[in-house]
Symmetry: C2
Subunit: 235 residues, 2 copies
DNA sequence: TAGTGGTCTAGACCACGCC
DNA sequence: GCGTGGTCTAGACCACTAG
């Protein structure tokens, strides 16, 4: 089946953004320019741009144009309050474990499919800090087969999601989460520098991606005493 | 300024749904019928239906029609895992306090505006249980001025959001949340029937609505030991 | 096969941002 | 004033669902 015209345009523009030919703040070609370039009508050009808007790649401004925006990394998920605001100021990320072959840890709360279990597992873990205070531990597992060369790879701008998008052309399309309040065990307490048994927010995440059957599993442990986890949703 | 044509149609259909002229599972008029009824083209009819889809009122099915669906009550927020699945089986809600005039409690984590503080505050509180086990305490505050007769009003189907929509024509359009893991204080521990100091998930919510400057503030305390809080997001 | 929604064309006029 | 995106018309053909 022929690919839909608007999908072609949409994917072309998306690729340009992912490749960095357009960066955050840049204007995409106007609707009329797209019409001329692709020999389509405005209806079709608009459909392509509307889809990109829904996906969070661009923002449209009446009378100005379509502007490339920072893609929400969290997708309905959570931000550490003060994390995004403090960006570049005082936030740091420390690797507890760089990406390397690992095991499908039973710690993962979501069910791993038969197919996934047969594949090789890649694991990495990070500690997020605000200033000197560790606020979140993040354990991640994924099927390594789809991400050739991820072992030993330096993340683009230190961001795993950005690396997924720009290097592997894989986008996060959704997520499932489970939240629990727990007492910190010894390991968690030491890493977060809190007392054994202090309450921590434990979040289990299964990220869905644009690649079929490729999921990313994360287990997060947060010290919310000073930096609560935030989340917002709008229509 | 003239109301946009598609907005007129959209609002008309929304009102029909809210009034119960169409209930969950019903089919809305087809695009062609809408064209005839409102003297518009399919583009405009489709725009109206697409908006209703975004708002979560309907689902569109190729070759069949537009079907009214259960509106997601949570809007990017959280569901008690097993709550929705257990609906009708074993879930119960107990009023700790029926809607009545109250105070803008300092317990509210979000900032209340000057305008709101001057208005009268209505408060109500509920306890959600699965079987005999209490899993969530819910404290709510809002400006009573917009909700005439809410004091002493019986919620439609026991649902506050449904009452808002069907009785007051107010929709939830978004929310901000803050999540914390805390130790249960005496009051919380007693209500949730857990030990003093047990970890509880504390969620502060500010709901945004379709009515200007009307927000609903909630403070939730969850025992996640047996029923974790769930949340999912797609595209 | 009839009816539905999904894609697309080729126009038009309007509202907004900016120079 | 000019270019941008937002709304709208009046058609066409295609893909899906169901009797």
């Amino acid at each position: 089946m022929e690919e839909k015209r608007y999908k072609q345009v949409q994917n072309f523009l998306k690729l340009q953004i992912q490749k960095g030919h357009y960066v955050v703040g840049d204007f995409l070609p106007s609707e009329n320019e797209l019409c001329a370039t692709f020999s389509i009508t405005r209806t079709t050009a608009r459909k392509a741009l509307e889809e990109l808007t829904k996906e969070g790649f661009i923002e449209r401004m009446h009378g100005k144009g379509s502007i490339v925006r920072e893609r929400r990394q969290s997708l309905g998920l959570l931000n550490v309050k003060g994390f995004s605001e403090a960006v570049g100021k005082d936030v740091s990320t420390v690797f507890l474990q760089h990406p390397q072959p690992g095991l499908w840890n039973p710690e993962i709360h979501f069910t791993i499919s038969e197919t996934e279990i047969k594949e090789s597992c890649v694991h990495f873990a990070r500690l997020r800090c605000v200033g000197e205070i560790p606020v979140m531990i993040e354990y991640n597992w994924l099927v390594g087969t789809y991400l050739e060369g991820i072992v030993g790879f330096e993340f683009i701008d230190g961001s795993f999601f950005k690396t997924l998008s720009q290097h592997y052309r894989i986008e996060i399309t959704g997520s499932e989460q489970e939240l629990r309040a727990e007492n910190a065990n010894k390991n968690i307490a030491i890493l977060l520098k809190i007392q054994l048994g202090s309450p921590v927010l434990h979040i289990s995440v299964k990220f869905h991606t644009s690649k079929n059957n490729f999921y990313i599993y994360s287990e997060l442990y947060c010290n919310t005493a000073n930096y609560p986890i935030g989340n917002s949703y709008h229509l």
